[in-house]
């Protein structure tokens, strides 16, 4: 996968590292146009139409998961997150009408960094399906941006949720690649 050359430049990395490390509440970054257009198209082609299986625990979540993890080389992020990383295994998730993730204590205690690649082609926040992270009084809302990579630093109090997707979504689906890097 080819990453947008701007994110490989040293000055960009320095700036992003600074932004990520100085955000005190819920450190996070959303990098738009993260992959080159061709690479992003390839990712979409691979994940938008693959087979997904439905998973539902009504008190926790309702979504579909893709077949197998996909490795993406994100060594470029090592300096930003201050941890050496290379091939990261991403799981693919799809959310459609009536699906959601609720806040729950089971997502707590997973200290580290979440990485989210948004493959959704067209999404309106009026459909619901908005991804949020909370930590005490602080909440960050992550709107859908196709071809974005989001990094969120989690501590033992961080919880995430994805709001219920309403009937205006019709047949639209949110497709996300999600990975977690655990703190060493």
């Amino acid at each position: 996968m080819e990453i947008n050359p701007i994110y490989v430049k040293e000055e960009t990395i320095t700036k992003l590292k600074q932004l990520f490390q100085t955000d005190k509440d819920i450190p996070h970054l959303q990098l738009h146009q993260f992959f080159t257009p061709n690479s992003f198209q390839l990712l979409q082609k691979q994940f938008l139409n693959q087979k997904y299986s439905s998973h539902k625990k009504p008190l926790l979540f309702s979504y579909s998961i893709g077949k197998s993890p996909h490795l993406i080389d994100l060594s470029v992020l090592s300096s930003i997150i201050k941890q050496k990383i290379s091939q990261i295994p991403f799981k693919s998730y799809q959310f459609q009408h009536k699906e959601y993730i609720l806040r729950n204590d089971k997502t707590k205690k997973s200290v580290g960094i979440d990485l989210i690649i948004d493959l959704t082609p067209h999404w309106s926040d009026s459909y619901g399906g908005v991804l949020s992270y909370t930590q005490g009084k602080h909440t960050i809302i992550l709107p859908s941006h196709p071809n974005s990579l989001t990094l969120i630093k989690k501590n033992q109090h961080t919880q995430k949720y994805l709001t219920y997707i309403n009937h205006y979504a019709k047949k639209h689906k949110r497709t996300l690649l999600v990975a977690s890097i655990h703190r060493k």
């Binding site: 625990k57 009504p58 008190l59 993730i101 619901g128 309403n166």
Partner: protein, 208 residues
């Protein structure tokens, strides 16, 4: 003075009727519940609806729900709403309710508020267990067709976890629905799909 006889279609229930309701409640699947149509005389239901629509409804949003809600009627300036609350938590009303449910209830203690669910509003699965809640109730003041959504859906459960929806009840004007709050009383309000408002009064009876 707000007595049960001033409000309800039945002032006193014969023990045999109480027994029938008790059997009916406990027979219902996936968990005990009771649906009482024509709960109030029509004019009382309409006056309650009119009083409720004068109240301020605040948008409540979380990961679990999006809906509009009033403050608890205990602090309402509206006499009709306060009287309805008093009636529901009076000894006259609680005694037959205790007989039907086999639960000991706390007199003059009730959580009660108005709710409106409109297009896209919902309440996701939960069991209502909190504090001393013993019985959950909902009194519908509007009617929704199946195509409007807004059904109250009941879950079957396994090992105290909800599995699948096995019963749906569409809101019907002047219908009172109640169920004991237990570790298996998993339910949800399904998304409202049109501009028809799902108007109701709901809350919980408490135990000691």
């Amino acid at each position: 003075m707000s007595t049960v006889s001033q409000w309800l279609n039945f002032s006193s229930l014969h023990p045999s009727i109480l027994k029938t309701l008790q059997i009916k409640l406990h027979k219902k699947k996936p968990f005990p519940h009771l649906i009482i149509p024509h709960f109030l005389p029509e004019e009382k239901a309409l006056s309650l609806l009119q009083a409720l629509t004068q109240e301020h409804f605040e948008l409540k949003e979380s990961d679990l729900f999006t809906l509009y809600q009033t403050k608890d009627f205990i602090s309402s300036k509206n006499k009709i709403l306060r009287q309805f609350r008093s009636m529901l938590c009076s000894t006259e009303f609680l005694s037959p309710l205790e007989a039907i449910t086999n639960l000991k209830l706390k007199i003059h203690t009730l959580d009660i508020a108005g709710t409106i669910y409109t297009d896209t509003n919902y309440l996701l699965p939960h069991d209502d267990q909190l504090d001393n809640r013993k019985i959950a109730f909902i009194y519908y003041l509007s009617t929704l067709k199946k195509s409007d959504g807004g059904a109250l859906a009941f879950y079957q459960s396994k090992n105290h976890e909800p599995t699948t929806i096995v019963k749906r009840t569409q809101p019907t004007f002047n219908t009172f629905l109640l169920f004991p709050v237990t570790s298996t009383s998993f339910h949800q309000v399904e998304e409202v799909l049109t501009n028809t408002q799902r108007i109701a009064i709901s809350g919980w009876f408490h135990g000691n």
